[in-house]
């Protein structure tokens, strides 16, 4: 003889019981992972001493405002150029044959070393000496590379822009 009833007595856990349960779970997790937690704590201590945590706190708490300020700053023509040029530079490097680049870079470095030696000398360079140097086969090679380079660059720059 059971009438319809709607009363449900829910044994709600008290706030204290819930907290106790959480503490128990946490403690277990800590003991299970004590080594990594100790290391983490040491890192945190160093960060605290270095003032990094304070900085991070400030950044995080103000993230929306800062996010909006910094994106506005970044979203400026000079930054656009910087980023675009960055992309172009990366693209440029990507297109150069590694062997050629290596050869050229070696040449540049060697040349720079020679240049450094040259600057150490305290004598003036006469025109005669300059011409004499140009007859040096090494210099001739470098100059002919350079003129070939100028040729190619001029050819590319002289092309009309595509539609």
């Amino acid at each position: 003889m059971a009438k319809a009833i709607t009363q449900i007595n829910i044994q709600e856990k008290t706030a204290e019981e819930k907290q106790q349960q959480i503490q128990k779970d946490l403690l277990k997790q800590i003991t299970d992972n004590h080594e990594s937690i100790q290391t983490t704590l040491e890192i945190v201590e160093e960060l605290q001493q270095a003032g990094m945590l304070d900085m991070a706190k400030g950044l995080l708490r103000m993230r929306e405002k800062i996010g909006s300020i910094s994106i506005d700053k970044i979203n400026q023509p000079s930054m656009h150029h910087l980023i675009k040029n960055g992309f172009h530079a990366i693209e440029f490097i990507g297109r150069v044959e590694p062997e050629e680049l290596e050869k050229m870079m070696n040449g540049v470095i060697h040349g720079m070393e020679r240049m450094a030696k040259e600057t150490e000398k305290d004598e003036e360079t006469s025109m005669w000496k300059m011409f004499k140097t140009m007859r040096d086969p090494h210099v001739m090679t470098a100059l002919s590379y350079l003129t070939a380079f100028l040729n190619g660059m001029g050819e590319e720059m002289g092309k009309k822009k595509p539609h």
């Binding site: 059971a2 009363q7 449900i8 007595n9 996010g67 909006s68 979203n75 992309f87 693209e91």
Partner: protein, 996 residues
């Protein structure tokens, strides 16, 4: 007959295809990727939309759309020539004029974004045409989805889906305005339109223009960035972009990262019997969205509002999460062990003292096949009773019984494809648009686009009736008469399929004679239909290449429910409409697993696979397998169990997943019986009205929290996978049954539902070849399934379900419907509605759905409203001989004269239609005669607030047309076709027309 294949040259290879295929289709068949955003939805068809212009190829030197160009023998097609590529790229560039690519911060960047993937494939590097925002704000008015015009590429997939697949005809693209956009109805906010919230448009959108609100800010790692940061970020990206290819790399990485936190799990819908399957996308316990897939066998990409947006109940605070035991007029929480021990002790004691048949078992058509199998096993093998039944007793048992009498198998003759392909569909006493929405879309589409004829016999002018070639309105409960009269007329005209009858049907002459009384004159008198109407229907059947008859509760829930179902099968037999494609009998099953519950044996007279318990051989098979004794006598059905409780013969009952206290008829009587039970166990996901009568309430897990299979109305068995862990201490039903059995000393060790299915497959010949392995992912099987896994999409091709393989014509007599008496002057019709499922205890947890349809309402005709001087919003009391309800009125032309309609979507007793219904029932199956009741109406308030809010789709203003109307786009002054652009701009490198 196989037609000859066609071969053509595609790039560097020869491709063979069927005649009539387009280049796009031929490539797709061979798994060759062809860009084509607007052909990305196979359910909509390839080449019907023609808006994206990304699929251009060179055909014999000319640029053509591959989606519309039919393959011709010897044709040379190039998709990789400079010209073809330039055209594809131009098409994409025109799209990107309308769409900003900020993929990494877009919630649609999940690897399946068509716009992203096509742009990447075509190696789009820069925005050729500048993107300019459209002058329209996003439309966020609908509770479940949004439209962002600025991201809309105007491909029109959404329009096509709404106009020609769902056929709600709400969406259009307004090509005439300066900045075209998608509009709802005649350009109203989405929420105020005739949108039925089915989600088709959102599902097919190839980008993020239409999105589920539950995805926004949730799917991506960076999509929840506040607007004041996000917009400059997008600007910045656009400003510095080194070409889109770099951006695609980053977005692809981000999309892959999302796979780590978004799970995509296949499930089968838990609402109606259509059996839609789809993916559920989840992040932890949050449901991000329902994502249908073209591979889903019953529904493809289709869903209705409930399947798409009705899943909030799973995480509802109201879920039962711990067992409850009644103590001194209150329920107290208990451990599983306490609850199960109490159940085992009580059931065993009652069985000892009063016999096994003092126990009753009511199963659930919401639960899985495996759970139903295990539940009947529990009743039969642990407690030795056949007193087990399921809710098909309230709806579809008469249909099954009518079919078993005539064609031998109680299920749909074929599949939804057969319904879609039929020449003529006749719907009797059913409202598929609301009760089986996705199935209805196939009828609406065939009727709109493919010249399928549609006849609807219903008291109400429901949506299909509105669209039908013929809507007939017979007097309530007289369908048997007009159907038999049509059958007689067909015989009289010599239109019967005499060859079919001669070879495949028994009892023809006797049946023919039984039709003598069903003359047109007699039918006119009884049904109120005109002779012309009935003759027209007979002619349509005669002229059609194949007829499908669909029916539901308007037929079955009558005193003569089984007989009317039989009359339908008779008509189909006489006209040879069985055993061939595009024809047959289709009782539309109401719940997700109402077919499967009966299939797997929760019936008092049948073991799984409809083998009679009285059959000694069959029983022996089960007794041996289960090592137990099973009673020979069939048990009590649901209706008889309630009577037996009332008579104090049944003393304890175990019910799961069934809201019997609201959905059984004459619930005052049912409640009285429940009060008499000595011990009552109710297992549910919510604290239902039925649970209020229980002694023990057990918390169950819904489909998303377990594995299993459901069988839809087509007899199609489909697997669903576990999405979440059960909430709290709730458990899957099958685990609970196993625990109870083991408490009672059984020794069951099922580790998973797969093992339960294996056992059922071994024992029931109809499921011999059913296995989880064969049902993986989108695979499905339609029973009967042979041991080798071969299934049966179409029944009766070679033989009917009788020993001699022949069907039987079965004479039937009309039973006069129940009359409550002259003082009850209004006819009460009742049933479901689109938005809320059944009484609504699952769907009403979804805010979006409740926003659209918060209450039940009483549909009253204009004539009656005028007579009673009431307006929409009036409060009335309805009284029948069995009880009273109080509801608010909606005046509508869906009902006529003195006929009322009260949907069943309430959990409040005072509005529950079954306060009014009686305990009379179908004389053959005991299904209650819900549809035979008259009431009187008292007006309590003549006016008031409408029970249906103005944002309900029923108040909308649909704008029917065919598809997206791309011609209007092409007629615009600012439109230049892709080939023209390619020609004019001479943009093909190396092929420009120079003299040297």
């Amino acid at each position: 007959m196989e037609k000859k294949k066609v071969t053509f040259q595609f790039n560097n290879e020869e491709i063979e295809t069927n005649p009539g295929r387009t280049i796009f289709e031929a490539c797709r068949d061979k798994d060759i990727f062809m860009p084509g955003i607007c052909s990305s939805q196979p359910d909509l068809g390839v080449g019907v939309i023609k808006t994206c212009d990304t699929c251009y190829v060179e055909v014999n030197g000319e640029l053509q759309r591959s989606c519309t160009t039919e393959v011709k023998p010897g044709m040379t097609v190039n998709s990789e020539s400079e010209k073809a590529k330039a055209a594809q790229l131009e098409g994409m560039s025109q799209i990107l004029k309308n769409h900003e690519l900020y993929c990494t911060v877009c919630d649609n960047n999940n690897g399946n974004c068509e716009v992203h993937n096509t742009a990447e494939y075509l190696q789009v590097d820069h925005q050729k045409y500048e993107f300019t925002p459209k002058p329209y704000p996003p439309d966020n008015s609908h509770p479940n989805y949004r439209y962002e015009p600025d991201q809309c590429i105007l491909c029109g997939l959404c329009v096509e889906a709404c106009q020609d697949l769902q056929v709600s005809e709400v969406l259009s693209i307004d090509w005439e305005r300066k900045e075209p956009r998608v509009i709802w109805d005649n350009d109203v906010p989405i929420d105020e339109s005739s949108c039925v919230s089915c989600g088709h448009c959102v599902t097919v959108c190839p980008c993020n223009a239409l999105m589920e609100k539950s995805m926004l800010g949730e799917a991506g790692y960076m999509t929840n960035i506040p607007k004041n940061v996000l917009e400059p970020m997008i600007d910045l990206t656009k400003e510095v972009e080194p070409g889109y290819q770099g951006i695609f790399t980053i977005s692809n990485v981000e999309a892959s990262m999302r796979e780590d936190r978004i799970d995509r799990t296949k499930t089968v819908c838990t609402y109606c019997g259509v059996g839609c399957s789809f993916e559920v996308w989840t992040k932890d316990r949050d449901i991000l969205k329902i994502q249908p897939q073209p591979d889903a066998p019953a529904n493809g990409i289709s869903t209705c509002v409930k399947g798409k947006f009705g899943w909030d109940f799973v995480n509802s605070d109201e879920r039962l999460t711990t067992p409850l035991i009644r103590k001194n007029d209150a329920f107290v929480e208990a451990t599983w062990d306490e609850a199960l021990s109490l159940i085992a002790e009580k059931f065993q004691t009652i069985k000892r003292h009063h016999g096994a048949d003092a126990l009753g078992f009511v199963a659930s058509s919401k639960c899985s096949n495996e759970e139903n199998y295990l539940f009947q096993k529990l009743a039969r093998s642990v407690f030795q009773t056949n007193n087990v039944d399921n809710c098909s007793r309230y709806c579809q048992t008469p249909a099954s019984a009518g079919l078993m009498r005539t064609v031998g198998i109680g299920g749909d003759s074929g599949t939804i494809k057969d319904i879609a392909n039929a020449g003529l569909v006749i719907v009797v006493g059913a409202n598929p648009s609301e009760s089986h929405p996705v199935l209805a879309t196939r009828i609406k589409r065939a009727n709109k686009l493919h010249e399928q004829k549609l006849v609807v016999a219903d008291l109400r002018k429901n949506e299909l009736a509105e669209r039908a070639d013929y809507h007939i309105h017979p007097k309530p409960g007289t369908d048997l008469v007009w159907i038999s009269a049509v059958t007689k007329y067909i015989f009289d005209q010599g239109w019967d399929d005499s060859e079919f009858l001669k070879n495949r049907v028994n009892n023809v002459e006797e049946y023919k004679q039984s039709l003598e009384k069903y003359t047109m004159e007699y039918a006119e008198e009884i049904t109120g239909l005109s002779k012309d109407n009935m003759i027209a229907i007979a002619e349509m059947i005669h002229e059609s290449k194949g007829t499908c008859i669909l029916w539901a509760m308007g037929v079955t829930q009558h005193i003569g429910g089984t007989d009317t179902s039989t009359a339908i099968a008779n008509l189909l037999l006489v006209t040879g409409n069985f055993g061939k494609e595009g024809a047959g009998a289709y009782p539309l099953r109401g719940h997700n697993n109402v077919q499967g519950a009966s299939d797997f044996g929760t019936m008092p007279n049948f073991f799984p696979g409809y083998e009679p318990v009285e059959d000694d051989e069959v029983r022996k098979r089960y007794e041996q397998a289960w090592q137990t004794k099973i009673p020979k006598e069939p048990g009590l059905n649901n209706h008889q169990v309630v009577e037996a409780i009332d008579d104090k013969k049944v003393k304890a009952m175990y019910l799961f997943g069934e809201e019997m206290a609201l959905v059984d008829s004459n619930i005052n009587y049912v409640h009285g019986a429940f009060e008499k039970l000595e011990f009552f166990v109710v297992q549910d996901i919510f604290f239902s009205k039925t649970a209020q009568f229980a002694d023990v309430v057990l918390p169950a897990a819904p489909s998303l929290e377990k594995e299993g299979t459901f069988t839809n109305t087509e007899r199609r068995i489909q697997r669903f996978y576990k999405v979440f862990e059960p909430l709290g201490n709730s458990k899957p039903d099958w685990e609970i049954f196993q625990d109870i059995a083991n408490k009672c000393g059984a020794d069951w060790h099922y580790d998973s539902p797969a093992e339960i299915m294996d056992e059922a497959a071994k024992l029931a010949p109809a499921f011999a070849g059913v296995s989880y392995k064969r049902l993986e992912n989108w695979e499905s099987q339609l029973w009967p399934v042979n041991k080798n896994g071969e299934d049966t999409p179409l029944l009766y091709k070679d033989s009917f379900g009788f020993p001699d393989g022949k069907a039987r014509l079965f004479p039937v007599e009309w039973s006069e419907p129940f009359e409550a008496g002259t003082e009850y002057d209004l006819h009460l019709n009742n049933g479901r509605l689109l938005e809320q499922f059944h009484e609504g205890n699952m769907t009403n947890k979804s805010e979006g759905i409740t926003h659209k349809a918060p209450n039940p309402w009483l549909e009253v005709s204009h004539e009656l409203a005028e007579e009673r001087k009431i307006k929409t919003g009036a409060l009335v009391r309805l009284t029948s001989p069995y009880g009273k309800v109080k509801v608010r009125v909606l005046i509508t032309d869906r009902v006529k004269g003195k006929e009322l309609y009260l949907p069943m979507n309430t959990i409040e007793e005072i509005q529950a239609v079954n306060k009014l219904t009686s305990s009379y029932h179908d004389k053959d199956t005991h299904t209650p005669n819900y549809k035979e009741m008259q009431v009187k109406m008292d007006v309590l308030e003549a006016d008031g607030q409408s029970p249906l809010p103005s944002v309900n789709f029923r108040f909308g203003n649909p704008q029917p047309h065919i598809g997206v109307e791309v011609d209007k786009k092409w007629k615009r002054d600012d439109f230049t076709s892709v080939p023209e652009v390619v020609e004019r701009e001479d943009i093909i490198d190396g092929e420009s027309n120079h003299a040297n």
